[in-house]
Symmetry: C2
Subunit: 117 residues, 2 copies
Amino acid sequence: MSNFGTYIRQARETHRAKDASFSVRQLAARVGIEPSYLSKIERSEQPPPSQQTIERLAEALGEDADVLLALAGKVSDELQEIIRRRPKLFGELIRQLKDAPDHAVLRVVREVRDGEW
Amino acid sequence: MSNFGTYIRQARETHRAKDASFSVRQLAARVGIEPSYLSKIERSEQPPPSQQTIERLAEALGEDADVLLALAGKVSDELQEIIRRRPKLFGELIRQLKDAPDHAVLRVVREVRDGEW
DNA sequence: TGTAGTGTGTAGTATATACTACACACATGA
DNA sequence: TCATGTGTGTAGTATATACTACACACTACA
């Protein structure tokens, strides 16, 4: 289903080519989980871990947490909380942008960033 | 924590004033859950039910599903899926709009709706 | 040859999620 | 008075989530 495991293994091994401390064991230790658990996750024998663990993995691997969470089939609680505060507004916005091409969404992002409210 | 239960009870009793079929038992039957379960949810003795059940409640009560889900501390899988497809883009957008006033977000919604991509 | 490190296999556990089934006490109307 | 409907109390269950603990086989190096 998701390539989460493969992606993590890939990222870890890329780091490892330059830095031997990116072994399953040592990365797991840094992230705060059991090595066998990480190993199983990388081989998709276990589903992706919790949001917290994914965020620590992202940090340790220099990856974008939102992207890793997406691969894991999740959306960060931070983003969810923003939506939950104004569910109608954000619901409408997001559905509206569902099929908009990237550049159109980006334009909106920039407009809002630079824009006068 | 959340007023989900109170909100549901309120909505149900409002309907009930006009339509006797909005009893706990009958609504529960329509929604496909046990009456005692609905009763407990309304009194916050149980946490809010699953997304599916919330959506059926919304339908039966004529309420906005996104709003009920938000009260339940959830975000619909449909919206999450849209975000997951382009996590960086939507992540940035949503964070950008976190503190924007409603009218600014609405303006964006309208722009996108009417806009030429 | 032994010790340190590698990845992985086996066998669990704790907690949360999302409910069901059934019984009870009370009210209302026929 | 009794059948019907009301809300609710008690006592469970099935499944998913998110892991841990420990052992094993293999490699490399000193």
